[in-house]
């Protein structure tokens, strides 16, 4: 990957683990590969524990505090390699070009600080004009919070989940980031609030051209709002492509995910759940990590030492399945 590319962010062969002085390094992400273009909305799906949050932490410099580190690969953000940035480098980078809305809306804001204080912190590095107070109000307006003056003086526990999430989004937008990472922004919120938050993200992208990584377990939601999708399984990217391309999946895991979708299941038919559970961190098998759960499994699937790489040209519809020819017709 060189400066000739015109994408905003490249994640290349990323491998993340927690080194241990005596035991073997615990690998949590291996073979993560995807790009995101300027102003693009990228959905990231995968079961719990597939490493979605870990991948995002490598973009915001918070792996270290969990004892984790990038072992291999690159995270190129506008040609800076974030994967190997030093802590002093991160001090300058963090909270500027990449905004982050953490996984849980309810626990996102600091419980002991007023909304005002938190916005002021987020605005520290802002270069926009206007006082902190003016900018805070503008941000809350932006995320469609009403009665701004009251909300500014309140503590997070006085706000509903949806409001807290709006505040978190406002904080993430404070530095006018080029990329916004929203880690499961709607979990724990009720359905109407969920759709309000999604509308908000769409508006933000339309208005500011902000690229957004949207992590979610909800495939329907991702189909709805995203341009492209990256599917993660056991720390690896198993399929990546546009929403339209993924309607004709090229990886059995994606097929399984599609079949377990509630929204497109035929009425009366039984919901298909995915066979077994994803292998836990530290217990990954050789070869394809999905093989044990795969109904298309062939003898050679578990042979190689490594997980299959993504086949196909980068940027096109890619899959990490060795036997895509078997999947024709499956949905």
């Amino acid at each position: 990957m060189t400066s000739s590319s015109h994408k905003l962010l490249h994640v290349v062969d990323l491998k993340i683990g927690i080194p241990h002085p005596r035991r073997e390094t615990l690998i949590m992400v291996d073979n993560a590969n995807f790009d995101i273009g300027y102003g693009e909305m990228l959905g990231m799906v995968g079961e719990s524990g597939s490493g979605k949050t870990m991948v995002c932490r490598s973009m915001i410099g918070t792996l270290e505090r969990r004892g984790a580190t990038v072992l291999e690969g690159q995270v190129l953000f506008e040609d800076q390699d974030l994967a190997h940035a030093s802590e002093s480098h991160w001090k300058k980078l963090r909270g500027k070009a990449i905004g982050y809305v953490p996984q849980s809306a309810l626990a996102g804001p600091n419980p002991v600080l007023t909304i005002q204080a938190q916005l002021a912190e987020a605005l520290q590095k802002s270069e926009a004009k206007g006082s902190i107070a003016e900018q805070s109000k503008r941000l809350l307006d932006l995320v469609k919070i009403r009665r701004v003056d009251t909300v500014l003086k309140q503590y997070p526990n006085q706000l509903s989940g949806g409001m807290r999430q709006r505040v978190m989004i406002a904080c993430a937008l404070a530095s006018e980031p080029k990329l916004l990472i929203a880690d499961e922004p709607t979990t724990g919120l009720d359905v109407t609030v969920q759709s309000q938050i999604m509308e908000l993200l769409k508006d933000i992208r339309r208005e500011f051209g902000t690229a957004i990584i949207l992590i979610s377990h909800d495939l329907a939601l991702i189909d709805d709002v995203c341009d492209r999708v990256v599917v993660m399984h056991a720390g690896a990217t198993v399929e990546v492509g546009s929403v339209a391309q993924l309607a004709v999946p090229r990886h059995p895991y994606t097929i399984a995910l599609n079949q377990s979708r509630i929204d497109i299941a035929e009425p009366g038919s039984e919901l298909v759940t995915i066979l077994g559970s994803a292998p836990s961190v530290g217990e990954w098998p050789l070869g394809c990590r999905f093989a044990a759960r795969c109904i298309f499994r062939q003898n050679d699937c578990s042979l190689g030492a490594n997980h299959p790489p993504l086949f196909g040209e980068r940027g096109s519809h890619q899959s990490a399945c060795l036997h895509t020819e078997l999947l024709k017709g499956a949905k």
């Binding site: 915001i60 410099g61 918070t62 505090r65 004892g67 001090k91 963090r94 909270g95 982050y100 953490p102 996984q103 849980s104 309810l106 626990a107 996102g108 804001p109 600091n110 419980p111 002991v112 600080l113 938190q118 912190e121 987020a122 520290q124 590095k125 469609k144 919070i145 009403r146 009665r147 009251t150 909300v151 003086k153 309140q154 503590y155 997070p156 526990n157 006085q158 706000l159 509903s160 989940g161 949806g162 409001m163 978190m168 904080c171 724990g188 919120l189 009720d190 109407t192 609030v193 309000q196």
Partner: protein
């Protein structure tokens, strides 16, 4: 949590959030004050009954074994002890409202003056214990919580367990021997009122109190800190790049302190009990020693007065602790 809080944006309920909070706070304040008074009352009733039900007669103790029946009866009448226990209680109770806790049977001091001269000594010891306890517990807990080395945590657990297992009086005796006799850093006995002159007499007892206070506080704080470190909002603090001091205070300590503060306020009750022993060993003129003397001689008014004051102090500080916990961290609910 989410279920309790209105989720709709347009509802006017959030508008009065601040007002509602203030009203709740006021309700809690009155409720607690009432509760403090009623606890004080029951502590007084129990103290009144217990001292009378326990064997031993103040009059015979005062007059000695040689006293004649006549003089015993006379003194009993003078003290009002010949009256029914209900009448005695009634009179005691009424007098409290007049600000009169009665007089010691043996010296001519009023109970009020016993309390006002000796309680400050005890409170000073406790205040210094708390100050030292916090001063030691916070850095220890922070250091252990932030250290990535398992050995640190292991040593911390071991040392705190050992320290907790050692009885306070044992630490006191060892401390007295070591600092008082060997090193001569602390006077072995005596007291001199007035701050800061009194510090040289009470620093050692306060340090001994810390022998149990610091392990308890640092353990609780450590476990809260570990929980906080796992919280999502700490990540936000890192990303926002807030200053170090602000990060430590607003993102680590303050969200973790409430349980420790509440516990500390309860520990005050425990320490008040403990100072009885501490004051005896260090020969300090605190209220605990007065209580022992009074119990020994069945000095009813003094015992009742001191026990009731203890009860009020405990209730008062537990209230302050809860309130402080709430002010530090709004997730704490006051009931």
């Amino acid at each position: 949590m989410a279920g309790v809080i209105p989720t709709s944006l347009s509802s006017g309920k959030e508008e009065d959030g601040a007002n509602r909070n203030r009203a709740a706070l006021r309700r809690v304040f009155y409720g607690r004050s009432l509760r403090s008074l009623s606890v004080g009352f029951w502590v007084m009733v129990i103290a009144f009954l217990m001292i009378r039900l326990s064997p031993g007669d103040p009059v015979r103790i005062a007059l000695g074994s040689e006293a004649t029946e006549a003089s015993v009866a006379e003194m009993r009448h003078k003290l009002g002890l010949d009256q029914s226990i209900f009448y005695q209680f009634y009179r005691y109770f009424i007098n409290i409202f007049k600000g009169d806790l009665g007089y010691s049977y043996f010296s001519n001091r009023s109970v009020t003056s016993v309390v006002t001269t000796h309680l400050p000594v005890t409170l000073m010891i406790i205040a210094l214990s708390i100050f030292l306890g916090i001063l030691l517990a916070i850095p220890i807990a922070l250091f252990v919580a932030l250290s990535k080395n398992q050995v640190t945590t292991y040593l911390f657990r071991a040392f705190t367990s050992i320290s907790l297992a050692l009885p306070g009086f044992f630490l006191a005796v060892v401390g007295l021997y070591f600092f008082g006799i060997k090193l001569r850093w602390a006077p072995a006995a005596g007291y001199e009122p007035g701050f800061p002159g009194n510090l040289q007499f009470i620093w050692l007892p306060a340090l001994v109190n810390c022998g149990s206070l610091v392990p308890v506080l640092s353990r609780v704080l450590h476990s809260s800190l570990m929980d906080t470190l796992d919280e999502e909002f700490v990540e936000t603090g890192v990303i926002r790049g807030v200053s170090k001091i602000r990060f430590y205070w607003s993102y680590l300590l303050r969200p973790s302190l409430a349980p420790t503060v509440v516990l500390l306020s309860y520990m005050i009750g425990v320490m008040i009990g403990g100072t009885v022993i501490m004051e005896t060993i260090f020969s300090l003129p605190g209220i605990g020693r007065e209580l022992i003397t009074a119990v020994d001689s069945r000095d009813y008014p003094v015992v009742q007065g001191i026990v009731m004051i203890f009860g009020l102090i405990v209730v008062f500080f537990s209230f302050i602790g809860d309130l402080l916990g709430y002010l530090l961290d709004r997730r704490v609910t006051l009931s």
